[in-house]
Amino acid sequence: MNDIQLPPIDYAALLPMLIVFGLACVGILAEAFVPRKHRFAVQATLTLAALIAGLVTVIINRDLEVTTIGGAVTIDGAGLFLQGIILVLGIVAFGLIAERRLERGGAFVANAAHAADSDGDKKQLNEAGATEIFPLTLFAIAGMMLFCVSGDLLTMFVALEVFSLPLYLMCGLARRRRLLSQESALKYFLLGAFASAFFLYGVALIYGYAGSVQLVAIKQSVLDSDKSGVLLAAGLALLAIGLLFKAAAVPFHVWTPDVYQGAPTPITALMAACVKAAAFGGLLRVFNVAFETTSWDWRPVITAVAMATMIVGSILAVTQTDIKRLLAYSSIANAGYLLVGVVSLGGAVGSSMFYLVAYGFSVLAAFGMVTLVRDADGEATHLSRWAGLGKGSPLFSAMFTIIMLGFAGIPLTSGFSSKFALFSSAWDANQSALVIVGVLSSVVLAFPYLKVVVLLWLNPPGDETPTVSVPGYLTRAVVGVGVLATIVLGVAPSWLLDMVNSAGTFLAK
């Protein structure tokens, strides 16, 4: 017990994260040293380059299976695939974040802290937005990548904070409806801090039981130990609360609609696609690696949470009158479907990852299109304003209809193939009750989607029907990619099914 030994570090395995973290730091320096008028171009290029380089290195590493930095990071097939998902969806979301043609100066203001309606706040409304958003995005994405490959609970906690803190800030940066945006940031931050505290407390209790925070060590001590399981159960419960909060599962979902509504829409899209992937990546890893052998203890609880999430999410979605809140509740219900994959353990890891990809693309396209329906006050998100859009903007409405049908699970869209994949592996794992609740709640959930389709096509346009902005090329690309993926993954999902199957599962040794 004298010198602290530096554990061996496999830099190649860490390279994707090192690139994204590194370039995020470079981005901060650029913020300080690059002249203001070049800053946007430099930052946007840097961010895109970081994400693409990260993705390339993930692909190069695809067959790697290694545990490194003394067990803090476990690179394995499933983890790499999740990192890949996060990067790909991040690249797509980047298109929305970097869009500056829809609104002068972009969707973000420079300073989140000005009190709403104060002089400073009014002044910044007409100024160019913050370019700090880019390094913040990179930090968030890098945090999510680390979250998915954490080998121990402490690393996981650090990663959780690394990706959460930038998000709290970014939620408050909306250019329009400042008060709502600041409220959402504060709400997300306070509740998120609570959840983090629960998580950390859970880690402490589990350490008390297992004497280690490493996932594989926890698994081993569960097998070997003859200690009372109270500490373990309590620790697991607290840990699960922290994770389920990020995943927006009922009853830890209440922040979701407010934050999704108040946050700038590009950030909402990032949260719905990437954070969901990261949160479920973490959940899947924790439950599959550390607690698989105690599934008798937690399965009933998580099953109940999954059912509640599906039911509550879909029923509350029915009553929504704001498209962003509707999509928020829909994302809660989708978290319920993904929890079905968590409960089903090993056999469902592949289909859960498939679901994350399919849902991520669709939801990015959906929020991308939400940014396009605008009037003088910014985005017109109230559903009544969407009535009759089909008459003036048939292409937009057709694409939104495809996304809605996809969310409703109509065959030939990714919504169907992903639900089929997930539910069939759940049935295979003897979770047929969850499957039945799942399909029934998806009927309920189809109603709000249909309501939107009815509004778009079957209602006459009102006097106040807003225009659909002709999107800049970035948003156009995002929406196009999202809609295309929704169709391709519905019609020809074989290649991705192969990919998730060959990605393998989590390394548990």
Binding site: L405, A408, G409, I410, P411, L412, F416, S417, K419, F420, A421, F423, S424, W427, D428, S432, V435, I436, V439, L440, S442, V443, A446, F447, L450, K451, V454, W457, L458, N459, A492, P493, S494, L497, D498, N501
Partner: protein
């Protein structure tokens, strides 16, 4: 399985689909072109269907014209098409009705009745898309492929009702979609359960109908599970058909849909329910089918009588026709679950004949409603004096619908009743009451619209004075000819469906009760 040189079934699905896409891209300013293209494609589809019917060997294998292509190997999902006699006559019915309905709806999409403009090419594109899914759902021989067509079919119909229907179209379209989706999702759960069972039983992932039926025959699907899976499938089909008490969407949808779409909805789409029971529930879940037969027969019987009673009370023409269909679907259901070859043959024949008769009835009602601008029966009265030919066609359609001897529905209804009588006398006698009520609702409807003193308001409605146009005559002629022809000589259709019916009854494991007094009535 016999292999054919020409891939009939995939072409029959693909051609209308391609046609739909092509029609959808015709600019709004050229409505006439869209109509002609749609009609031409549907006629070509009909031609290919006729060729397929000729290529079908009635004494051959159960499944013929089989074609199979790779799709999603991980799930064992394939583009597999193959038809038995039952499926083939349903494909033929779809292919026949679509060009007729397109011609009948020639002007229906031009305006919305109050001067508003509508998108004509989209209307006809939706019709063709609907045709592709209808043919696909009957031609599929892969359980998941069937399910996919079953669900996708909702989308074109939803827009046909929602965008081109009557005053309550939004409500009706959403109700139609949600009801069907409830059934569809329950079926999805059952499909997943079946798939997992088949995978464990056969050792590989497959949705192939034949493989799954063989597995079921060898007892590969345990009894309790069978019951649950049966209920999943049956819920979807009972809502689709619709059986009492899942029928409430049909009058709304049928009442609000444009007449052509309503003809297809009731004529073909709803048959997917009864077809599905025959093709999927019975062979795959034989034990559960027998277990739930009583329940199904009771529901059907209630449907026969309740639908008929409600039809008598209707004041709206389209809703009335929709309710008559609920009554007729009850007959079909009784016939299927009687498990005697006569009754099942009668049911299948009824599916065809009901498509023809109710299709014709909906089309004629569509003509009337379009002229009058109202669906309410009380807005008519004595209209036969203004349009004698129309009144005649309306009467033929009505009489066919009440199964008058000499029209084709009579043969089928009679077969169902005889076949049921040999199994369960009470049910047959009670169901026969439905025939009496049928006379009441049809004749009373005819009387109130066409006979009696002329409703004075009709004199001011110029279109009411125009009798059938040439186009309209061309529309109704083939249906009338078929109704009479099949009423007198149903043998060609019977020959086609009988082997498939026999095979289905064998799958259930029911021995056919020897027909006694009724013997010889079959042909």
């Amino acid at each position: 399985m016999s292999s054919t040189s020409f891939p009939f079934l995939p072409v029959l699905v693909a051609l209308p689909l391609v046609g739909a896409i092509a029609t959808a891209f015709i600019p709004k300013t050229k409505p006439q072109l869209a109509k002609v293209v749609a009609l031409a494609i549907s006629v070509v589809v009909l031609g290919i269907t006729v060729a397929a019917v000729i290529a079908f060997d009635t004494n051959g294998d159960r499944l013929q014209l089989a074609e199979s292509y790779k799709w999603i190997p991980q799930w064992g999902l394939r583009f597999s098409f193959a038809v038995d006699g039952i499926a083939l006559v349903m494909v033929a019915l779809s292919a026949l009705l679509v060009p007729i309905v397109i011609l009948a709806s020639w002007k229906d999409a031009d305006d919305d009745g109050s001067g508003g403009r509508r998108n004509v090419p989209t209307f006809f594109a939706l019709m063709l898309a609907l045709e592709a899914t209808m043919i696909g759902v009957f031609a599929a021989s892969d359980v998941l492929l069937f399910y996919i067509f079953f669900e996708v079919m909702l989308v074109p119909m939803y827009f046909l009702i929602g965008s081109y229907g009557g005053p309550r179209r939004q409500y009706a379209a959403v109700k139609f979609f949600l009801y069907s989706l409830v059934g569809g999702m329950l079926m999805l759960a059952a499909v997943i359960g079946l798939w997992v069972t088949a995978k464990n039983g056969l050792g590989h992932a497959t949705f192939d109908w034949q493989e799954i039926v063989n597995l079921a025959k060898n007892g590969g699907i345990p009894g309790d599970l069978q019951k649950w899976l049966f209920l999943g499938f049956f819920a979807a089909f009972a809502i689709k058909a619709p059986f009492f008490p899942f029928h409430t969407w049909l009058p709304d949808a049928g009442g609000a849909a444009p007449a052509g779409a309503a003809a297809l909805l009731v004529g073909v789409l709803d048959k997917v329910g009864t077809y599905g029971i025959l093709r999927y529930c019975l062979p795959i879940f034989p034990e559960a089918s027998k277990y739930f037969a009583t329940l199904a027969i009771v529901l059907s019987l209630v449907g026969v009588l309740y639908g008929a009673l409600l039809a008598v009370g209707q004041t709206d023409l389209k809703r009335l026709v929709a309710y008559t269909s609920i009554s007729h679907f009850g007959f079909i259901g009784i016939g299927i679950f009687a498990f005697s070859s006569q009754a099942v043959t009668g049911s299948v024949l009824y599916m065809v004949n009901h498509g023809l008769a109710t299709g014709l009835l909906f089309i004629v009602v569509g003509f009337l409603v379009r002229r009058r601008g109202s669906q309410s029966i009380s807005d008519f009265g004595g209209a036969g004096k203004l349009m004698p030919l129309m009144a005649g066609v309306f009467l033929i359609a009505g009489l066919a619908s009440l199964a008058l001897p000499g029209t084709s529905p009579f043969v089928s209804e009679f077969l169902v009743l005889i076949g049921t009588f040999s199994v369960n006398k009470t049910v047959a006698i009670l169901a026969a009451l439905g025939m009496v009520l049928a006379a009441a609702y049809i004749l009373w409807m005819f009387q109130r619209t066409m006979q009696g003193t002329l409703n004075p308001a009709l004199k001011d409605v110029a279109p009411m004075k125009k009798d059938l146009s040439v186009r309209e005559k061309v529309v109704v002629a083939p249906l009338i000819v078929l109704i009479i022809a099949l009423g007198v000589y149903p043998k060609p259709v019977l020959d086609m469906i009988e082997p498939a019916v026999k095979a289905t009854i064998q799958d259930v494991g029911k021995s056919d009760p020897v027909p006694t007094a009724a013997d010889g009535a079959q042909k």
